[in-house]
Amino acid sequence: MRFFSLWFLFLFLPIGMLFYALTPRRWKMLSLYLLSLLYYGQMGLFYFGFMMASVTIDYFLSRLMQIFDDNNKYRRIVLAAGLIKNFGIGIITGSGSNSAFNIVPMGMYVYLFSALGYLVDVYKGDAVYEKNYIRFSLYCIMFPRIPAGPMLEYNSYLAQVKDISFHLDQLSRGFNLFVFGFSKQALIMEGLCEVTEALYRVPVGELSVISVWIMAGCTALSYYYAFSSYGDMAEGLGIMLGFRYSSGYDYPLISESVSSFWKRFNGTVTSFIRRYVTIQLSADKNGFATAAVHLIASSVLVGMWYSVNLNGILWGLVLGVITVCEELVFTKFLQKIPVFFRRILTLAVLLPSFLLFTCNAPQFFQYAGILVGIGAPLTGTVINYTISSYWLPLAAAVVFSVPILRPVRRLLSPPYANGKREAKPLMASSALFLRIVSLGITGILLFYSVVMML
């Protein structure tokens, strides 16, 4: 049951929200836990059992760590067991057809790495030992985060879950953002994927330089919309349930550097990996070589988060090397370049890098050759028809990938403080009018999206 399935939208979400809304405040965590179990349960008994077993083992590892609180050696052994268990499962199940599963279970990386992060926090003393099994499990399997994140630090979760609240106002704001993400998936991503697939079907000999750049752009936009739509939906659902966390996507294609791209493209995962895997390592403390290795390692791990195969690893590796060059070699030189040109330069690196995700090595080198003008004309008419057939999703994809329409998003889900209504009274001045407009936009987007997803 994905977020964009009609089952989720018309049955699980309204009934679940009603159930959650009617539950007394002190039982809200339990009701959210039950909803999360129900959501994950439809994956099938095997996957459900696997997830429950994994989370339960992690819970007992953390309890074991508490038992050995005064023995650092044993605590280290327990942490190592947690690392091996979670990394091992992640790599074995995610590395293709030899894995124990036909498909990677939905949300596996989220619950594995959430638990892993918690174990590291507990080991370092950054987080308290959690005795409440339901509270710990909910952190790992909270249903808005399960399909694709975002990642959340345990302390941030704990502060929110203890003060869990539900307001109709939140529901409305969260729903607006959820619909925004849903429509990104339905109205932009679907068309974008079709045009990208159509472009990849064009024989290499008929492609021009511009057409391959467009192909690379479409690939990058497809990945951005595929992931960020889930991020928006997850953030929206979180707001509806009374949680506040960022989707982790902040217009990554206008990044000024590849380092900035990592923060903007699923930034919660990047910061999570850097915090728990390449922690406390920086150029200042450890020197060039160590810093470079850890920057590259974190990039490769982020690449593997998306795809545990050679494509994901290479993508991370290439961007990791560029990050090292940016942060450790050409830092001063790059700072002298005007921002606009830095963005163009970054885009020129990022777009071809996304071809690595999709193509095998020979294909990639063929496309890379055309990108720099080897053996191909500058322009051509072959892809004109494909482009004109998808002009609207393409135009929308480009427009919504830059922040010129940020006010629309703010209108759909304006910022608020601590889960409470904003200080400004809603009825004051134009607030009510804006709410009605946002409701209208949400309604149109939802209707249009549902029609397109049928």
Binding site: S5, L6, W7, L9, F10, L13, P14, M17, L168, D169, L171, S172, F175, N176, G191, T381, N384, Y385, S388, S389, Y390, W391, L392, P393, P425, L426, M427, L432, R435, I436, L439, T442, G443, L446, F447, Y448, V450, V451, M452, L454
Partner: protein
């Protein structure tokens, strides 16, 4: 207090919005019991009574609302607005739909095999043989398909086939004639077939090649059966802007002909009729054009009460339905074989040596998609 109520109402509307869409979905019932339910993935199976009650209730609502557009139609329209003038491999013209014929698979040898099979057949029997490859609507109506659409060049494809059999089989070029009449109603708008008028153009070209005294269109009476029909393309893709088709067939009016048609069905049954046009099956047939000959069958034989003595053997696909009402009047007996459906037992019944002429008549897409060379080789043994 009042303000709080207003605020609550706005939030309530937001919630109701979630449940408003399923109600819209329930209105979506072009063929309710059959086609709407699969959209609602995962809904438990409904009993027949529930479906019938549901259909009845929805029909009442639809009558009350008038012609509410279905969501499927809206989807097609939205996609077209967003630039997709080809959906599900169908070109959406201003008021018509044309199936796109993609390039033949380079790995497939169907075309050359079929051409070789025809040649082997001719070398075996030495009966005057003719071939007619009929272009599809998207080639002839190419002015109506989107600009720059990567159309398969059917003209070149047909010419290549004709070249490969020249000197042995007489080719019939209908492309030029159909292309010259592209602005006329020669292809249905929602059915991937030629109209009766298109069939007449095929007959007029074919007649000359077969040395027949072709009749003018005025000598045929046009009988209308349906002014508002939507064919299989529309069933696949409910494009709301398409104009309905007008279905009519032609019958020779100057000299009446009596026909006795026998259909050898795939299941072994044999059905006999006193005509080649069967309006009585209009309601039950998959496509309204099946009214002619009753649709496809492995073998259809037609005995004609006419002054002519010639016997014609036709190997064909659906294209035969368009021109047979005109052609049948010129023969004493016609056998129509559908090589895709016919088995060896059926082929054994043919007695090919007794035919005066043989015609291979296929549309472009059938010719490169279906390989029937094995059956032709069997006949040539």
């Amino acid at each position: 207090m009042f303000k709080k109520w207003i605020l609550f109402l706005i939030n309530l509307v937001s919630l109701l919005l979630i449940s408003a869409i399923p109600i819209c979905l329930l209105f979506d019932s072009p063929n309710l019991a059959g086609s709407m339910l699969p959209h609602w993935k995962g809904v438990p199976t409904l009993s027949e009574k529930e479906i019938s009650d549901y259909t009845e209730a929805n029909n009442k609502i639809r009558t009350f609302l008038g012609d509410a557009p279905s969501l499927e139609q809206l989807q097609v329209k939205f996609k077209r607005f967003s630039g997709q003038q080809m959906q599900d491999n169908i070109f959406l013209a201003k008021d018509a739909m044309y199936e796109n014929i993609p390039q033949p698979d380079p790995q497939s040898n169907a075309t050359s095999n079929n051409a070789n099979g025809m040649l082997e057949f001719v070398y075996r029997y030495y009966i005057p043989t003719y071939v007619m490859i009929v272009p599809t609507a998207c080639a002839i109506k190419q002015n109506d398909v989107p600009q720059n659409a990567p159309l398969f060049n059917q003209r070149n494809y047909i010419d290549d086939i004709y070249r490969s059999i020249s000197g042995v089989i007489t080719s019939t070029d209908v492309y030029t004639t159909l292309f010259a009449s592209m602005d006329e109603y020669i292809y249905y708008r929602t059915i991937p077939e030629l109209t009766g008028l298109g069939g007449y153009y095929l007959y007029s070209v074919l007649g000359e090649k077969l040395s027949l005294r072709t009749r003018s269109l005025a000598q045929f009476e046009q009988i209308y059966l349906n002014h508002n029909c939507y064919g299989s393309l529309y069933q696949r893709l409910p494009y709301p802007d398409v104009q309905p088709d007008i279905y009519s067939y032609y019958r020779m009016s100057l000299f009446r002909r009596e026909y006795r048609m026998t259909r050898y069905e795939p299941d072994g049954y044999i059905h006999r009729y006193n005509d080649i046009i069967l309006p009585q099956i209009m309601e039950t047939s998959q496509e309204i054009t099946d009214v002619v000959l009753g649709g496809r069958a492995p073998l259809i034989t037609i005995k004609v009460d006419s002054p002519y003595k010639e016997r014609l053997l036709i190997f064909s696909d659906e294209t035969v339905k368009s021109y047979i009402p005109f052609l049948a009047a010129h023969y004493n007996e016609i056998y129509i074989v559908d090589l895709e459906l016919a088995d060896n037992d059926t082929l054994d019944k043919l007695g090919i040596k007794h035919f005066d002429q043989v015609l291979f008549s296929y549309s472009v897409d059938t010719f490169f998609q279906k390989d029937f060379s094995e059956k032709l080789m069997y006949l040539a043994k």
